[in-house]
């Protein structure tokens, strides 16, 4: 036994002595330079450049133009049911609550805990407690179909948010869907990879197809790359949504080892970044990363020049909360649905500034006032 232990210790010491430690993080934290534009791909670059450059401009403020019947809304009850508790849903709930306070409406926040039974419970509690409106945050209406039918029967106005593209049919039991154009955003992500690489992009997309909006974005990326007519290629990693934390890194790591030429990794949601970074680092750290959503942690990474090179950013989630409240409020009072679409902006190191709302969404610095002013016209 002593011999075995001594041998193991000896081998370990020898290994350390011979190899030393290779630092994982370099001091510069820089990324690979963009590839030179190949002449054969010049047409491709010309085609995508206008879209990419236009998408880097700040998003225009989306705000109501018509007044809201605040007297008719006073004392009403609105429930905000989240898919789960995370940074995005929390910030959005803050927006809903702020708007409710400004309009004199009682807002109840219910955490769906990523569970269909909890979504159902939330909707049924809302019905039982006499809610006038419900905002579903990234809860797919199909999984609570019967509960939505019950809500509709009770006269409750239900708004779905962040589900599908704006032009998709409205789900039964809901009156609208406040969302971004995920397919177009996916196409933009693919175009950015083409633009940045001179149409020599070898792309890995990371998504989880049961999440409908992620699937739409992934399909948009695939379409942009395959329709580009360039030498670029795309591969999609479809992660089990229940194993995102445990499987994303390993699957991406394997993909990067199998194809060392991958130069772009496009996860379709920013919160995937903690699982993307270790895989990129293990592969040598040259692939660039562009994601979607624009959460503050990702904007910080882009601003710092580490790990993530860009994102397709929505306005602050608080604004989405205000917009959702506005839509439900109008539905409750019988006004026309404004049919807002969540705008997005391509954010990279070129336009991220310090990552603050003022730099990333300059037209959204005081969106609250835009709502309250329009409401009281």
């Amino acid at each position: 036994m002593r011999k075995t232990t001594a041998t193991l210790v000896g081998l370990g010491v020898l290994a350390f002595a011979l190899t030393g430690c290779t630092p994982a993080v370099s001091s510069d934290g820089g990324t690979a330079a963009s590839a030179p534009v190949d002449a054969a791909n010049a047409d491709c670059v010309s085609a995508v450049t206008p879209d990419v450059e236009a998408a880097m401009e700040p998003s225009a403020l989306v705000a109501p133009e018509a007044p809201l019947d605040l007297a008719g809304l006073a004392g009403k009850k609105i429930w905000y049911i989240t898919n789960s508790q995370n940074q995005f849903s929390t910030e959005m709930s803050t927006g809903v609550e702020e708007a409710g306070k400004a309009a004199g409406v009682d807002v109840t926040v219910f955490d769906g805990q990523n569970s269909t039974s909890r979504y159902s419970e939330g909707i049924n509690q809302a019905i039982a407690q006499g809610a006038d409106g419900i905002i579903l945050m990234a809860v797919q209406p199909a999984v609570v179909k019967e509960d939505l039918a019950a809500a509709e029967a009770a006269g409750i106005k239900v708004l779905s948010t962040l589900n599908g593209d704006p032009d998709e049919p409205v789900a039964a039991g809901t009156f609208g869907n406040l969302t971004a154009d995920y397919t177009a955003d996916g196409e933009l992500m693919g175009k950015w990879a083409l633009y940045d690489s001179g149409c020599a992009a070898d792309v890995v997309v990371v998504q989880s197809s049961p999440v409908h909006v992620w699937d739409l974005a992934a399909k948009g990326i695939e379409a942009a790359i395959t329709d580009s007519g360039s030498d670029s290629s795309v591969k999609v990693l479809d992660i089990d949504p229940a194993k995102i934390a445990t499987d994303t890194t390993s699957q991406l790591q394997t993909a990067l080892q199998v194809d060392p030429d991958v130069n772009y990794v496009l996860p379709v949601w920013d919160s995937a970044m903690p699982f993307i970074s270790p895989a990129i680092a293990a592969s040598g750290g040259t692939a660039k990363v562009l994601a979607h959503d624009g959460i503050s942690a990702s904007l910080e990474l882009i601003a710092s020049g580490k790990d993530q090179q860009g994102t397709v950013a929505m306005p602050p989630p608080g604004w989405i909360g205000w917009a959702a409240f506005d839509e439900v409020g109008r539905a409750i009072t019988g006004a026309a649905d404004p049919g807002y679409v969540i705008p997005t902006r391509l954010v990279t190191s070129d336009n991220v500034g310090d990552g603050s709302v003022g730099d990333v969404s300059p037209n959204y610095a005081d969106y609250q006032t835009a709502f309250t002013s329009a409401w009281s016209k």
């Binding site: 036994m1 350390f16 993080v25 479809d238 089990d240 934390a245 445990t246 394997t254 699982f275 942690a297």
Partner: protein, 346 residues
């Protein structure tokens, strides 16, 4: 003095059919075998791993790359670390479901403290203290009060999930100091330190389980606590110590988790709950059959990783890997059980 003892099963319950006589002296390691008893079948899983690896090397060209092999080994190191930690309480006949949330909670506390200006050197002991507190609370409730370990640790699991959301304000917190990232991701012999830490823990636990009286006491306490008590073993101290060690080690894994991912998402703990336990149970089918053991856990996890990676490289869809994972677990544990019955009949 001689005692009637039962061979512990993966569930920690005694297997009456496989009863053997064990002397009190038998609780002390004999030093005759590196891996304990179990016959040739204890290397069956290792053999299957070798066969799958060779098949992959022969039929999948992408496998013939050191980087891919290294990436396979590294990719599940956090799961391996947690699985090894899970064996500690499992070996004493209990369950610790809270390890994944202790990991995330400790990581969350550390990064939030660091971001608020506390030096890393001061934040780390506080994170370990959190793990110790969780382990001590679990141990107190299970050992002293007599609450079921499953219920107790499920409770602490939930409370810690809330704690992680509380301290991070439900946000992903990034900005881990480079020194912690380097302490986890730096490579030695082409393998990141995170993997070395898992291997070191596996060897350490193997030594404790197989070569020290404590390891045998844990096994005996897990298999038959009444008999262990009669043999003079401090059953309560051993069980309490297991929960304490589990909590402390989980918080250390939390620091590794933090360095590896470079950020903390407070919602990730739930996804680390079952896989480590599955690996620990699968580990009972290798090296030391029917007992929670560290080297068996390593072999079991690597078997799953090689199989799943092979399927991924071949382009299998997500559901295929899930089916492989589930079937491998069921078949291996059932085969081990059948082998144990045959042996008992002989």
């Amino acid at each position: 003095m001689t005692l009637k003892s039962d061979t512990p099963t993966p569930s920690g319950a005694p297997d009456r059919r496989a009863g053997t006589r064990l002397s009190a002296e038998g609780l002390i390691p004999s030093g005759r075998s590196l891996f304990g008893s179990g016959g040739p079948q204890r290397f069956a899983l290792l053999g299957i791993l070798a066969i799958i690896l060779v098949l992959c090397l022969v039929f999948i060209p992408e496998f013939r790359s050191w980087r891919l092999i290294a990436s396979m080994i590294n990719s599940q190191s956090i799961i391996l670390l947690l699985a090894l930690v899970a064996t500690i309480v499992l070996r004493t006949g209990g369950f610790d479901l809270s390890i994944s949330q202790t990991m995330v909670g400790s990581a969350a506390l550390t990064i939030v403290l660091v971001k608020s200006g506390v030096p890393l050197a001061a934040a780390v002991p506080l994170a370990v203290l959190l793990g110790a507190a969780v382990g001590a609370l679990n141990g107190f409730l299970v050992v002293k009060i007599g609450v079921d370990s499953f219920v107790t640790t499920l409770g602490s699991y939930s409370a810690l999930a809330g704690f992680a959301y509380l301290v991070t304000d439900s946000s992903i917190v990034a900005g881990v100091p480079d020194e912690l990232v380097n302490a986890v991701r730096s490579e030695v012999l082409g393998i990141p330190l995170v993997t070395w830490y898992a291997w070191i823990l596996a060897l350490l636990l193997w030594f404790v389980y197989q070569r020290t009286p404590l390891g045998r006491y844990m096994l005996f306490v897990g298999g038959n606590p009444d008999a262990a008590r009669l043999a003079g073993i401090r059953v309560q101290a051993v069980r309490f110590g297991a929960y304490l060690a589990s909590g402390i080690l989980s918080s250390l894994v939390g620091l590794i988790f933090l360095g590896y991912f470079g950020a903390v998402d407070p919602g990730t703990g739930g996804q680390y709950m079952l896989q480590p336990l599955a690996a620990a149970f699968l580990g009972t089918t290798a090296i030391v059959i029917g007992r929670f053991n560290s080297l068996g856990t390593v072999v079991a996890l690597y078997l799953l990783i090689v199989g799943i990676t092979g399927l991924q490289v071949l382009g299998a869809q997500t559901w295929v890997t899930n089916v492989f994972y589930g079937l491998a677990l069921m078949i291996a544990v059932a085969a081990s059980k059948l082998a144990g019955r045959k042996k008992a009949l002989r």
